[in-house]
Every structure is written in C-alpha cells, then in structure tokens.
Symmetry: C2
C-alpha cells in the first residue's frame, strides 16, 4: 500500500493494532527458544492467534518477526532460518488478515550501537535493511519498528527501512519509563522532535508501562510530535507467580484507559506485553468508530543530544571553543583521535551555560571520515550537550550527522543553490536545524543584499519541503577593527527578523584583533538581541557576554530557557 | 567704561598692560612694609613709575592696590589706611593715565579659603566686594584680579566684583607652574573652562613663570578658553644676589617672547615680576599695532573639580552611590555632619571608574544650608572627582554651587519654565552643566511628548543665553518590572540625539524591584548608548555595566576618556 492511502485511513478513524505475541504464546504454553520459531515449527499457533486478533477487531496485524533479525537469530543459533522465519511470518499473517493490514515487525538487534555497545551504526543499519527488504518483498503493507530503547539504533532502523522503500508506511516506536525516559537517557520529547524531522509516518510509544503510567508519557509525545501517533501499553506490571509472569490488567480496565489515549490524540491503539485478543476486543468495543482527535502540537523548535534538549526560541547560546583552527596542539590530538581535550571543552562550556556546543575540527584536509564519526561518539559517550556540526566537507558532515543521536545544528550552508540543497538533503535525512549564511561566494556589503540572498534561500528551502522553523540565517559578523561597520549586521538582523526569519551569528569575529574583546562582543550582542537575534556562537567564558544575554532576556520579560522541558502533569 | 567699549578695543588691536610695581619699587630702593603704602607716603614715586609705563606705551595701567584689601592691610597693621590707599591709588593712576585705561588691581586676601585654609568663602567674598566697591566708586575703568592661586578664592573675587557692577570690564588672572598647575592643584584647563562660564571679560595667566615657560601654559588657556586672553609673565626666574632678587630677562628677550603669545592668541600682554618700563617699551615696539589673532577654542565640554577635569563627550560615567534616600544610618551621619561615609563612597566610585560623583543627601527637609556647604568642602578636601549636585531645594543647591570649586553638574531642572529658569540662573552665576528632565509635573508616556518638552526647554535656555552644550536632557528611565516599556527611553534618546541634544539617564531605576539588576541595567545601557546616550548616573560596582560602556565605546571606535587632558607640546 502507498503511504498516502495509509494516511487517508488514519484521517478517517482511530485504527486498532493487535496485542502481544510473546507473552500470549507463553501463556498458551508454547515452549520455544524464540517465539519467532513458531512461524516454521507451528505456523497454526501463529495463525490462530492472529485470527483471534482479527476477530477482536484489529485493523493492523504485526508479523511474528520481533526478534527475527539476523543478529538475534544468530545469537540463538538460528541464523540459517532468517529468511524462512520472516517470509513465513508474512505468509501466515496475510493468510488470516482478511483485508486487515499486515505490518512487518522489527525490533532491536539485541546489541547496543556505539558508544553504548560495540556495534557500528552501519552494522545495525544493514541488519535492519536486510530484514526490512525481506518483509517488504514478502508483501507487508507497512513496517513497525518497536520497543526500541536506543534512539541511535532506532535511527539506523528508520534509515534502513526508508532506503529499502520510500513508499512503505512506517511506524517508529520507542519505549519509555513512567518519567518519559528511555533506559538510554533519551526523553520522549527528544524522541518526539526527532521523529518530526525523520521520514516516518507514525511515531509511537510501546511496552514497559501499563496504560495509566503511559498516559503522561503519551501526552508529552502528543505535545511535541506532529506525526500520526500510535500507542501500545502493557497489560499492567508483570508479577512473577512461580516461574510465570502474569499481567493483571483486565480487558475492561485496559479498554477504559485506552479511551484516554484517543482523547489525547492517538491515531493507532494496540496492546503490548500481557495483552491478548480479549484486551483488543474490549478496546475495540469501548473505542468503536472514532474520528481521531485533532491535535495542535507545539510549534517550538528544539535542538537535542541523546539526553539533553534545548529550546531554540528566546536565545540559543552556542559554545565556540571546540575549534581547532590555528591550534597546533589540538590539531595533533585530533589527528591521533585523542578527543580528550574536546570532551573537556564540551564539559567546560556546558558549565558556563551553553545550550549547544559547536564542533569545528579545522584541518579537514588532514582528516578522514572516521575522525568525524569518533568525535561524535565520544561526545555522545559523555552525554554532551546538543552539537552544532561545524563541518565544511559534505561527506564528513554527513558522517557526523548520521552518527549523531538527537537533533543537531548543521553549520552551515551558503545561500548558493547547489551548496544549500546538498545540506538540506542531510537535514531531511538525519534531522536537525540548518544555519544558512547570507552569502554566496563573497560577503555582500549591504544589509539589503544579504537579506535578498536570504529570501532567495527561503525559496529553495520551501521548494525542498523543509520547514523554515528549522532554519537560522547568519547575517554575518565582520571584524569591526578592520573598519567594518557593525551596524550592517544589526540592520541585516532587523530585516531578517521582521520577515519572521531566525538569525544566528558568530559573535567573536566582531572583535578579531581588538583589545577588550569580551566587552566589545557583549555590547554588540545587546544590539543584535534588540534587533531580534535568536542565537549566537560565542565564547561562554566571557562573563560579560553571558550576563548581557540574561540581561537582554530579562529586559524583554523573558528568562533564559531551562535545560529540560518540564514533564507536565496534564490533570 | 562700559564692557562693550572695552570689547571693541580688544577686537581692534592687541592691548598693552603695564609692568611690575613691587619688584620695580624694590629695585628703585623704596623700602616700605607694603608697596601700597607708597600711595599715601610717596605718591610721586607711584606716579613716576606709572608715567613711565604710559610713556613706554601701556594701554592699561593697574592701580597700586595689589595687596590693598582689608585682610592683608590688617595683617600688616594698616587696616585704618584701607580706604585711603585704594582711593589714592586710583587718583594717582588717573592723574598720569593721559587717556590710558586704569584697572583696579585686586589679589589674594593672603588667607586660603576653606578647605585649604580657615577662611569662609563668604568672608573672602566680602573682602573682595569691599575693595572692588571702593575702586569702582573711585573711577577705575576696569578691574583685574591677578596672581590668584586658589580657584575658589578667585571665584569669590569674581562674584564680588560682578555683584558690585555688572558693567565693569573684568580680567581674571591665575598663576600656574610650568606644568600648567596652580599650587592648589588646579590645572590651567580647569581654570580656562570655568572662566568660560563665569561672567568675566578676559581670562589671564600671570606671574611665577618667565615667558618661555609660560608659553605652553598659555597655549592650553587659548585652547580651552573662549574669552579674551591676557598674559603677564615675569622677566625670568629670580636670582638672589646678596639680599636682592634679580630678574635677568632683558627687555629685548622679553619682547621677542611676548610676540609668541600674540601669535597664539593673546589680546592683552603685559609684564609681571621683574619687568619694568623698558620691558614694556620694548614689547610695545616689537609687537606694535596688531590685530589679535583669531582663535578657535575647543568646543569640548568638561566637568571639573578643583583638581580633576573630565570631558563630557563620548560617555560620562556618574556614580550614583552617594544617595541617602532610604539609608537610615547614612542619614543620621549626615544630620550630624559626619561625612566620612560619603567621602569613602566618593573614593570607592573613583576607583571603580566614575568620572563624576552624584551627591544626593536625601532628607533635605531635615537639613540646613551648612550641611550642603560642609559636604562640598569635605569632598574638595580629599580632591574628589567632579560632582553632580543632586539637590532639590533651590537654596541648598545654590549654597553647594557657590562652595564648589570647578565646573559641576547641576542635577536637575524640570522642563517647567519657572523651575528651569531658577536653575539656569545658578548655572550662569556659578558655572557648570545642567541636567534637564523631559517632564514638567508628570512623566509623559511617549517619546514624542518627552522630546517636545525638551524642545520647549531649549527655547527657554536659548532665551536665557546659556549655551546648549552645557545642557544634558534626561529622557527618563522607568522600572521595566512595573510594566514600563524600556523602548520609550531608547526612542526618546534617539529623538534628542538626532536633534543634537546631549542625554543623560539615571540607569538603575530601570531594574527597580528586579532580579539580576546588573545584567538588565548593562543590557539596556548598550541600547541607550547605541541610540546616542552621552552620560549615565549608575552603580559603578556593576562590572557588567562598566564593561559594556567600554565595549560600546570600542565598538564605536572610541575609548573611554582619560582622566586628564594631556598637556600638549605645540612645537
Ligand atoms: Zn511489550
Ligand atoms: Zn609676579
Ligand atoms: Zn604682577
């Protein structure tokens, strides 16, 4: 099926997903190493359960392939069954679907991607790609990637599915605790806002929580995510009775709670661990034929790392000090893949109050892709702030963007069409926010010329289908000591701001070669902020500059954005 | 003679003053306690010397009354001769003048005025007034106050002469060392700029220096003073031979040097100690009939105390912390005339980088004139920075302005005609710079209304004959935390600035009741300075604010003004 048809269905009414496979087979007494083995050893059992889900009213059946990627099968010694298990799963589901949709089910490889584990991003990507290829070739109507606890692994899976098919409907589902955090430290908000950027049809949360604990997490998802939404809670917290895990939420209790998710905007509802056909049946009866609630997800933009999310409105402070240009010692370290100084600089700048850390390795001609991959992994390892990927070489930029966990800034594109489109492609594929310089080759002298180039870029960005909210324009700051008029930048900011475009400057260039740089930078920044500036790459060691940011925000009746988005109690 | 006639003469050609009396009588062997006794004991001797000066070509004869004030005569036991000596002196001079002008000569009382000595300002004033009255009643054509080393005493003398006659031509002359400093620490520039304000016709330097050492000092006078200029050097450095002081500069040497003073703008040239009729004759021959050189004295404005002068252009930092409003402990101290805390606050603020110290004693209803007199004297005693006299009560303001040594700021007048005219009168009588609030009774809401009030005030100021360069307008800052829009002040500054009017704000009011006041104040100040603000009363403990001032000036390609005006070598 085409994605457009699926979207039409989602607009018509709330759809029902099926319930659990693993816990249900276990309850029914099937004793196998991996429940996916049933696809080949006891296809009747699988068909029977799926038939019951169809009878219960499910609109979407998942294939019994949750753990059927090559890595997991291999870990259990069933690698040779990889193709058969997946192909049979689709066959079984389709044989009982009776018009219902069949979605190929994909989950974790069982190994964490670097830096959490030893698996390379590309390795995970190929594992997912191989399974997705098989499922799609076998005729599934869509793909669901579910119960993912690592945003990076999820990203690999999403990219893999999309590289197999641009047209297949795709649900991407992560699992969170009651505080809205995954075990890898990613919040539901970080997940939500990255899903906005990536090419998925439905963002979803599933497993771990029973319905009442999952509702608040879902509300956050609905608040920040502008995709269609899916939810699959467990049937309560599992209780160990003897050697059997029992899930105590009854079908009626489950169904009552599930109505709340619909109220808060769910487009697809289903069950995860502990749910069976009765839960689904009850849920379908309680919810019935409902038009999905209209949602108004927040228009706020955020940058994020794996664990930290920062709003970009009001003012975004981007630390400039990871910049190897002209720093011989740091350059040597980087060449040797010693990123200790960079990690230290990132941590210092976080303490100083930065929201984002710009990473500019300089000396790009002396480096390889692996340098960029490693620096991203090292900064992720220490839970660094969101990054601004300040990389000239397109291939290196893509390497970094791929390896990155969260929603980065991409620094930067020229307003020249070819250069801009190349970077917009990276933005669309990997997510994030792009800084566009108001110049093509040379820097225009006047504010009006710079503004005109920005407007030209706006047309290209719109044509490429990227939301302008994801773009900062850099009005360009030149050294005032070299005779440049600082007012040109201020005026350019005013022009861009009154056209509703966000601006970001590289502050320190202003005072290049001057005495008392901190004082000059800080004074200028106040003028820029009054003109509407929304972000600056700056030296956060400059206390005066940092004070001025806070002072300007207070003057305007705003406060410096808090580190985290508060988890709100909606009741 | 009327002042206008005298001015006409000064425009026509360079005038010649006579030479010394004291050293010349001494050389001629007259042995008296005070040479002024000759007026009654040997009037022929006086007449003879003055006749020689007339023959030498002097246009102006001075009466032999240099030490003939009541205080000095009393000190030598000749108080009863006070009237006779002065009246006779005028008679003698007029008897030989033969059409030349006779100027009554006045000099120091011989005692320093407080805080340098024990004499009250008013006491000095009355001594000068008494002598001036006598000389003027006796028919002199003008008055010269000369060889003054204390600017405060000179001010008392000037006010005294003017209170006797608004119409009498007046030359005010101070004496400086080769570095342009009086023994009381006042620079020739401080003297020059105060003379611009006070109602004198000619500003002059005399005595102490021989011509070649005096030239640089005179050049500074010519650079900063916009009045007619007079100069009377000594005939060289005195050498003690036996018990006789000899002055070695020959008449020709003297005359050659005196031409230089004419080149640099002197309107009147004469001789002081060691000069005799031959020096004057030679000088008259060398210089001859010359039109005075046209001068272009600096338009720069300065505030000053006795010893410190600060330019008001670029940016003037006025310390706010001497303000007793709401400070119970300080109020009690002030009532008890204990000014130790105030002195300490003045010194702290100087260290922090202020150029001017605002003095607001608050609780004016509980104070008397003497409190204001004493605080000015105490701050003068410690060589404080220039003051901003922040005083509501008109009588108290006048007391402070009178006692003040230098060119203060007067803070402040309303734009209401009666209130403004009262303060302009003080400004005209005592000198200084006035802050005019852009309000009458209530604070206007809009920038345009505030600007309109400023323009109304401009008309009044012009009508009162005060140079607009001596006025700051306060665009008024209101607490932003109380919902006031800070942009109203910024816009008012822009309007005033584009009309060529200088602006000064009270910064701290902005952040009243807010957290992080320093940050808010500093940010706002940057915006105001960009709009053209030229001065602010502020808390100089706020490092961020002080940094921003320097940063804004550097941004605009300026530097924070140096403490002192450099003594330039013109050659
Ligand atoms: Zn589950
Ligand atoms: Zn002398
Ligand atoms: Zn003299």
């Amino acid at each position: 099926m085409k994605r457009e048809e699926f979207h039409e269905m989602l607009k018509q009414r709330v759809l029902f997903l099926d319930g659990a496979y693993g816990t249900e087979f276990f309850k029914r007494g099937y004793k196998v190493d991996l429940i996916e083995l049933l696809n080949v050893k006891n296809p009747q059992a699988v068909a029977q359960l799926q038939k019951e889900y169809v009878q219960a009213g499910a609109d979407i059946l998942l294939t019994n392939t949750f753990s059927a990627n090559r890595a997991k099968l291999k870990a259990h010694g069933y690698e040779e069954l990889f193709e058969k298990i997946n192909v049979e799963a689709v066959k079984i589901a389709k044989s009982v679907a009776n018009g219902r949709l069949v979605f190929g089910d994909i989950s974790s490889t069982g190994s964490f991607v670097k830096p959490l584990g030893e698996m390379d991003f590309d390795e995970a990507y190929f594992i997912f790609k191989e399974q997705a290829q098989l499922l799609i070739e076998s005729g599934v109507d869509g793909i669901i990637i579910e119960t993912m606890s690592d945003l990076k692994e999820l990203k690999a899976a999403i990219l893999a599915v999309r590289d197999v098919s641009k047209d297949i409907p795709l649900i991407a589902s992560m699992t969170f605790d009651a505080n809205g955090k995954s075990v890898t430290g990613t919040s539901v908000e970080i997940f939500s806002t990255l899903m906005n950027d990536l090419d998925v049809d439905v963002a979803s949360i599933n497993c771990t929580l029973e319905p009442k604990d999952m509702l608040n997490v879902f509300i956050q998802l609905a608040k920040y995510c502008n995709k269609y939404l899916c939810v699959e809670p467990n049937a309560g917290k599992p209780i160990l009775r003897g050697n059997v895990l029992e899930y105590k939420t009854t079908p009626d209790e489950f169904a009552i709670y599930m109505r709340d998710f619909v109220e808060f905007g769910a487009n697809i509802v289903g069950g995860c661990c502990g749910t069976g056909p009765k839960h689904i049946k009850s849920m379908v009866e309680y919810i019935g034929n409902q038009k999905p609630k209209s949602k108004e997800p927040s228009k706020r933009q955020f940058v994020s790392s794996r664990t930290v999310m920062k709003p970009v409105e009001d003012f975004l402070i981007i630390g400039e000090r990871i910049n190897a240009s002209g720093k011989k010692k740091l350059q040597v370290q980087i060449q040797q893949k010693d990123f200790s100084t960079i990690v230290q600089l990132a941590q210092e700048q976080e303490k100083e109050g930065c929201a984002v850390i710009d990473v500019n390795l300089g000396i790009e001609k002396l480096l390889e892709k692996d340098h960029f991959k490693q620096v991203i992994i090292e900064l992720d390892r220490v839970s660094a702030l969101p990054l601004s990927l300040d990389i000239q070489n397109l291939e290196f930029l893509e390497t970094a963007a791929k390896e990155y966990v969260g929603r980065p800034m991409i620094n930067s594109a020229l307003a020249r069409e070819d250069h801009l489109i190349e970077r917009l492609k990276i933005l669309k594929r990997y997510g994030g926010i792009l800084i566009v310089l108001t110049m093509e080759k040379d820097i225009p002298k006047t504010p009006e010329e710079r503004f005109k180039l920005a407007l030209k870029a706006v047309e290209i960005i719109k044509k490429e289908g990227v939301d302008l909210d994801r773009i900062f324009f850099d009005p360009l700051v030149l050294p005032v000591g070299a005779g440049n008029d600082y007012r040109v930048t201020v005026k350019t900011i005013e022009l861009l701001n009154s056209a509703g475009l966000k601006t970001c400057i590289g502050l320190s260039n202003l005072s290049f070669g001057m005495p008392e740089r901190e004082k000059v930078n800080a004074a200028f920044l106040a003028l820029c902020m009054e003109a509407g500036l929304k972000a600056a790459i700056l030296n956060s060691k400059e206390t005066t500059t940092m004070n001025i940011i806070e002072g300007m925000l207070l003057l305007k009746g705003k406060e410096l954005a808090k580190t985290k988005v508060e988890f709100e109690d909606p009741l």
